[in-house]
Amino acid sequence: MKDLSELDFPETVRYTEDHEWAAVDGEVVRIGVSDYAQDQLGDIVYVEMPEIGDIFEKGDEFGTLESVKAVSEIYMPVGGEVVAVNEVLVDTPELINQDPYGAWIVEIRATDVGEYDELMSAEDYIEMLRG
């Protein structure tokens, strides 16, 4: 487990208390897990993703990440309909460990983009992690 200072928290995305990140482009929100999350999980061996067309509300579980002998749920930062899943992760789940902000998991069309603005900035998220 790394020290917080060794982890990367870009200011171009927003964060949740459950360690997901979200990046907005129009009404499409791209979602992944933070550098902190991947470090906590250890080597990720499997990503369970939703299907295109699935509809979720903010906070709903939308998949799981499996690291060695541990299954962790992941939650929607904002509500909406899944418009894309990152199929690359099916065969190379370790990309999340290597590049957590490049290895997005799903893209959704947000029901209310306003929910994105309520998420934490990098500064607030780091503050929360320091706790």
Binding site: Q40, E66, V68, A70, V71, E73, Y75
Partner: protein
């Protein structure tokens, strides 16, 4: 903000599973205490979230004839067997409050098993073949957890003196050709779950760095029995 330990004795897998889910829900709803369940189950096979049915090497009718159920659950890991004589520990812990990462928690579960084995004079080791603890190339104990909003459940299964035959009906943990062993076999002594866990409270306190207090099973939020 306390850690409580409860010895349940021999209890049906599904009942303890429901109890764990209730404890996780209570924790997420603001309950203060972490709870560690210590139990044994009547014979049952469980299949992890991504477990493969083909790692069960016998037919479901064969299992039915032996009165053994196959249950799908949300923990990590593949197929495993639980039965009397196997120590099962489910720590329902808020990892965030303990400031433990998931990998550290899995490592601590292995460490707990290594110490319990050492307490019986059995030297076990970690092994590159996935997780768990091993003795002379055979698997002695297994781990598998699930995490919901930072609260971990499921845990470890340490073979104290179970019937090892049912393990030959599966590829334990999804590994083929794995031989299972027990503390009874390795120590050549008649060991019981009760005896193996005689210093459990102290060992847990050492590993968690916090006081652990025993509670009665009646203090737990058991599901209603239909």
């Amino acid at each position: 903000m306390a850690i409580r330990l409860c010895r349940l004795g021999l209890v049906d897998y599904q009942a303890v599973h429901q109890l764990q889910l209730r404890l996780v829900a209570a924790r997420l709803a603001g309950a203060e205490d972490d709870v560690i369940l210590v139990t044994e189950h009547p014979p049952v096979f469980t299949l992890g979230r991504r477990g493969r049915r083909d790692h069960l090497l016998v037919s479901e009718s064969f299992l039915a004839a032996h009165g053994i159920e196959l249950i799908h659950i949300e923990r990590g890991g593949d197929i495993t067997y639980h039965g009397p004589g196997q120590l099962v520990i489910y720590p329902v812990l808020d990892l965030r409050r303990l400031r433990r990462s998931i990998t550290e928690h899995v490592g601590a579960l292995e460490e707990l098993m290594l110490r319990l084995a050492a307490d019986c004079g059995v030297t076990a080791v970690r092994d590159g073949r996935g997780r768990g603890i091993w003795c002379g190339g055979a698997k002695l104990g297994s781990v598998g957890i699930a995490v919901r909003h930072g609260v971990a459940c499921h845990g470890l299964a340490l073979n104290v003196a179970p019937d090892l035959l049912p393990f030959t009906w599966i590829n334990p943990c999804g590994l083929s050709g794995v031989r299972m062993t027990s503390l009874a076999r390795e120590s050549g002594r008649e060991v019981t779950v009760h005896w193996v866990t005689r210093h459990l409270l102290q060992i847990l306190q050492d590993l968690l760095g916090r006081p652990v207090a025993a509670i009665d099973r009646l203090e737990l939020p058991w599901p209603e029995v239909a």
